[in-house]
């Protein structure tokens, strides 16, 4: 289905001199350039307000860059027509910092949405959702509504929703902010597994314990600028 040149590109995420200002005069993101390879697992860190969420928002076209070019899966997002956005998003899994779960729908339905939008048959969808929920330890809550879940449980539903479709790219914004250390490690392992299977993973996090434990490539933003890119530094070696 995808153009040959797309799949040949081994960097599904490329940003070139990207800036983003929400309010004239103050930039949330400034001149950021980076490339992430297929199957790579990258941490994105930085202080509160540094621009982590903004960067992720740009990557799945929730916002448009003020300047610069962004190539996602070979497509230039800055030039993407509005009607082409859903197709991109169906190939990208996102864990939102505030979860964005559908209230009034069950946990199962929330996770299944990812499969519904691509038209997965009901039976297959249900079994995939069940497996995914088991991996985040919530299969017994699948018929409950998100309101009746604890903060950490809701976060895991959000993670399950992002992962169940086996996306080519996974963007996770603070996915362990409401999880205890043991669960955090479980969730990160889940994402590492996805990376092993070829998913490109970007995890925004404040959690220094995770950064230290996993020693993966880490992008650090400071007031919107890319202050540190450890992998790039190691590539220099």
């Amino acid at each position: 289905m995808r153009g040959a040149w797309e799949s040949r590109d081994d960097c599904p995420v490329r940003m070139y001199r990207v800036s983003k200002s929400y309010i004239a005069g103050s930039a949330a993101l400034r001149d950021v350039s980076l490339e992430i390879r297929k199957g790579e697992f990258v941490f994105l860190t930085g202080q509160s307000g540094a621009g982590k969420t903004t960067l992720l928002d740009l990557l799945f076209a929730a916002e448009r860059p003020s300047e610069g070019q962004i190539l996602m899966l070979g497509r230039n997002i800055a030039r993407l027509r509005g009607s082409a956005i859903p197709a991109l998003r169906r190939r990208v899994g996102v864990v939102f910092q505030d979860f964005k779960l559908l209230q009034g729908r069950s946990v199962e339905e929330n996770v299944r949405i990812t499969l519904d939008v691509v038209g997965t048959p009901r039976r297959e969808a249900r079994s995939r959702v069940f497996n995914m929920l088991r991996q985040v330890g919530l299969q017994h809550r699948r018929y409950h509504s998100p309101e009746s879940l604890s903060g950490g449980e809701q976060q895991r539903v959000a993670i399950a929703r992002a992962l169940v479709g086996e996306p080519e790219i996974l963007l996770a914004d603070e996915p362990t902010g409401n999880l205890d250390p043991d669960l955090s490690i479980e969730i990160i392992e889940l994402m590492l597994n996805a990376a092993t299977r070829g998913t490109t993973v970007i995890v925004a996090t404040h959690d220094h314990a995770l950064l230290e434990r996993y020693h993966r490539r880490t992008l650090r933003l400071e007031a919107g600028q890319l202050a540190e890119d450890e992998a790039r530094a190691s590539a220099d070696l």
Binding site: P86, K100, L102, Q103, E109, I113, T114, V117
Partner: protein, 299 residues
Amino acid sequence: MKRVAVILAILGRSALRGLQSAAVTAAIATATIAIALFLVGAFGLVVVNMEGLLDRFGRDLQITAYLEEGYDANALRGLAGRVATVEGVYSVEVIDKDAALERFRAMSGGAALLGGLDGNPLPASLEITLDDAHRTNEGLEILTSALDGLPGIDEIAHGQDWIEGYARAVALVRVSGYALGTVLSLATLLIVANTIRLGVYSRKDELGILALVGASRTFVRTPFLIEGTLQGAIGGLLALLLLLGAFQVAVPQLQYGLTFFLGSTEPRFFEAGEIVRLLLGGAGLGLGGSAAALIGWRS
């Protein structure tokens, strides 16, 4: 093709779940649609019955063509036959000189006036009724010019300018009917669209989240359109039941007044075709309302 079927099934289920999860909002919207359509329906019932009433009034109104002297019964019948073929004529009745005298005698003061008379000064006449569409000044003109061409007709009388009065009444009902009906329909359209829009608005988070997980415009919108259509159709059904109930309750209550001015005829409810139109109208309103509500919704 299979995939289309799967997606359609998903969208249909999604619409049902939407109605379920926003049950209160959906119920309120449906109730509002029902009320608005009830209003239109009640108005429609009144107009339909009023027109029937005017129609019956109209059929009682007659035009009299007085004839020249010296017509015998045969000639009279021949003339009546020719008048019956004139455009707009519904029926013709022959009143010969004797019948005219009889009638005059029965009128108040008539007997006194005739006291000193020899012979019968009253002319024979034709009493003509017009059909629905010609019960107007124009219809009257057509008739008059047609009768002018016929031999033996002396004078045409249409007592007490009833044509004008009748046309006034018809125009009054029609004009206020059309005006109110148009306003009512437009208002219903707007109210339904607004109601559904408020419903959509209270679920804007849902629309946003669906878009964020990669749902296409069609995927996001179709369930809302289905929901709107269902709400409209159910609203129409409720309106119909309300109307039927109100009709059953109101008619005996108003029986005295109604027999008084509807005569022996019973007021009628909607016919099958009108009922179908009401239901389809409801569904259409719901669909149109939700489509309008989604216009300009950025996905």
